[in-house]
Structure formats: structure tokens, C-alpha cells
Symmetry: C2
Subunit: 205 residues, 2 copies
DNA sequence: AGCGAAATCTTTACAGTGTAAAAATAGCGA
DNA sequence: TCGCTATTTTTACACTGTAAAGATTTCGCT
């Protein structure tokens, strides 16, 4: 049982786990390179060797976020195109973001990430592919990612923008304006359910 | 003609204008207290007296953003409830965010703002009230902000989440995945148009 | 008009950050 | 065992936000 070896052995993974802990505990503003190093019990410059710079560490962490998110999404039900599954997946989407608000926020904070990092690029693409598949299934057709029609793209954008917008506004506390004025005890999931149930045309038509 | 008086005279406004310039030029990461002071030509501690701290300055700037946004929205057409006006206003929404990406991002970066600041609270509330009015008009009814039905809340959330989600994903560069695979020359506005045209039910149904 | 008080701005200082470079340590193949 | 490389620490620097003290101007009151 080593108590403080010079060579950690698995510092890379340890740093990522430490980063996730710091993010959950102190939020995005507290997620600094030095804080992560402290949490992992190493010197503040140790992460540099494994991740290059801060954007590198954050990007690898965001990649893990996308993988977790992807797993939560597939676990919520295969994309069979049924309305019930669609609703369940939408709730799983928001549910993941509520369970990991810092991580979800990080995944879409482009200016702090390096999207060219293979791990992040791959993980994000995988999630996107899954979204495309789910929307395709609901339309009973297969959507090619290479060349899609404007109609298909619009359907994908509608689904994604609705859920992502809801998630962001919810995490940013901007939906409390609405929730507060609803019958007492109405929670976000109820609002989400109502929002997705009825069809919508032009902005508020 | 004074060339460098000790008392600036109108430093508060000058700092806000400097902050807007810095934000447009260097983006959100470059918008620091000291950078704003440099841009305005004063010492780095001068802003403290007028805004208290960084969150104070950013909040006042975000308030200006909401006012500009509000003005752009009303200028795009009165909320008469017609589909054409609704579409025009949606495009004005995204158009404003594209013209002022840093400012729009700041307006929704809750962790860097102090929402209790009167100016910000008022400006944000005014924009929200306008949204409620627009959605109400499209439904040919008046929505009370005090107590709204779940149906009304869902309609508001649908419109807002769709547009805000689209805007955020667009500014974060996440829609390029879709735009790139569309017929050559398809721009964001075309996708927005298509997205808002057709009705949508459950996520991708 | 003049004088004290308040407002405004600068200077100085401190803890924290990311990053780069050099030094120290450990593991590993020959 | 020796040398090489990977890993980690130490040191240093420029930058940040904030607090406190000093300097300067303006304002209010008599």
C-alpha cells in the first residue's frame, strides 16, 4: 500500500474524476486547473503533462459527459419512433442535465473547449448521430447524415432546439418565471410534458 | 478642452460603452474588469466605485442588452398575433443575437450576473412580459402574468425554448453539423424558417 | 467666499489563476 | 548498472478580482 508515490500511476483518470467532483461541488466557476490538482492531491502543474492546457482537461471531461449522456439516452429506450419512447427520451435528456448541471453546461460552453480534440469530437458526434436516428425513426425513415433534406434538418433542429432550449433555460433559472406562476406544485417535468404534448406551428401560433 | 481631468464626469456610461466594445472585440473571455478600465483609459480600480464588482458591471451591461433586444423585438412588428409577424419577430430574435453574440451570451450566463440588480431584473422582466404578450396574441387571448394555465405556460415555453435553443446552438457552433449537410448555400435563416414553418408534436413526432 | 465632508479616481497590495521552463524523481530497456 | 524517457514538482511570470489607503475634485453648508 503506497501512500504517496512520486509516480501516481493512473493520474490521468484520477484527475478526470477529481475534475468531475470539483465541478459537481463548486460549479463551473470553481473548476480550475489548480483546484483539480488540489483535489487529486498533486502539484498544480501535474495536469499539464496529461492534458496540455485547461481547455484540454475540460474537453476530455466534456467528452466523458457526452458519453454518460449518450448512455443515459440509449438506456431510456431504443429509438423505435413511438411517441411514448420519444417522450421518455426527452425526459431522460432533461433528467441527465438536471442530475449533472455543471457537466451539461460545460458540454455546450464552446469557448472553453477544444472541439478538435478527438475524444470530444467523437463523443459529441455520437450523440448527434443518435439524435438524427431518433428523429428519423419518429418520421419512419432513415436520415442520412451525409446529405439531408431541408425537411429532415428542420425536424432535427426542432427537436433539439426545443429540448436544449428548455434545458438551458431551466438550468439558468430562467423558467422559474413561468413555474412560479403556475398552479402550486407544478414542476419542470410537468411543464416539459405539456410543452411537448401539443403541436406547435409558427412561434406561438 | 480638458485632456485628462481627474474626475471623468460620466465614467459610468463611458465604462459601459467600453465594456460593450471589449465584448464585441474580444468576446466574453476577454471581458475583464481591467480590460474595460484600460479601454476607458482609467485605472483598473475605477469601475469598482460605480459597479461594486465584476458581476455588477456585467449585470448592468446585460441590462442594456435586454433593452436593446427589447427594442429590436418591438421594432420587428407589433404583436398582432398573425403568423407573418410571429415569423418576423422570430427572425429578429435570432438576428439580434447574431449581431451581438457576446451580449446575448452574457444575458443568459446566470453565474456571472447578479439577477437581483434592479436594472437587470427590470429589463429582463420587460422582455419576458413582451414574450408573454406575443404568445397571448397568437392565441387570441390575454395571458395574465400573475396566474397562467398550464396550457398557456406550455405555449410560452414552446416558443421561447425553440428560439432560445436555436440561438444558443447556433452561437455555440453546434448547428454547423446540420447546416453543412444541407444543400449548398443553405444558411441559418433558411433552417430557422423551415423549423418554424411546420408544426411539431412530441420530440420529433 | 470659504471650509469641511463626500464623492471620485489612483496607487498599492494580496491571493488566486493559467502557463512555461527548469529541476527532481521514477521506471524501463539495454 | 547505465542511460533514456516519462512523470511530477518547483519556480517564475503575467494576468485576474478585490480590498484598503491615498490623492484629487466637487458639493453642501454657513
Amino acid at each position: 500500500m503506497k501512500d504517496a508515490p512520486y509516480h501516481h500511476g493512473a493520474l490521468r483518470d484520477a484527475l478526470l474524476e477529481a475534475a468531475e467532483r470539483v465541478l459537481e461541488r463548486d460549479g463551473l466557476p470553481g473548476l480550475t486547473l489548480r483546484a483539480v490538482a488540489r483535489e487529486a492531491g498533486v502539484s498544480h502543474a501535474a495536469p499539464t503533462h496529461h492534458f496540455g492546457d485547461l481547455a484540454g482537461l475540460l474537453s476530455e471531461l466534456a467528452a466523458i459527459g457526452f458519453q454518460q449522456f449518450h448512455a443515459a439516452m440509449t438506456q431510456a429506450g431504443a429509438a423505435d419512433g413511438s411517441p411514448e419512447t420519444g417522450m421518455a427520451r426527452a425526459k431522460a435528456y432533461v433528467g441527465y442535465a438536471q442530475a449533472h448541471p455543471g457537466l451539461y453546461g460545460l458540454m455546450f460552453r464552446t469557448e472553453r473547449l477544444d472541439m478538435k480534440r478527438p475524444a470530444l469530437d467523437q463523443a459529441a458526434s455520437a450523440s448527434f448521430t443518435e439524435l438524427v436516428g431518433a428523429v428519423g425513426a419518429s418520421r419512419h425513415e432513415q436520415i442520412s447524415e451525409q446529405a439531408m433534406s431541408l425537411d429532415q434538418a428542420a425536424a432535427i433542429a426542432r427537436a433539439w432546439c426545443l429540448i436544449h432550449g428548455f434545458t438551458m433555460l431551466l438550468l439558468d433559472g430562467r423558467l422559474s418565471n413561468i413555474l412560479r406562476r403556475l398552479p402550486a406544485g407544478t414542476d419542470a417535468e410537468t411543464l416539459l410534458d405539456a410543452m411537448l404534448r401539443a403541436p406547435v406551428g409558427r412561434p406561438g401560433a
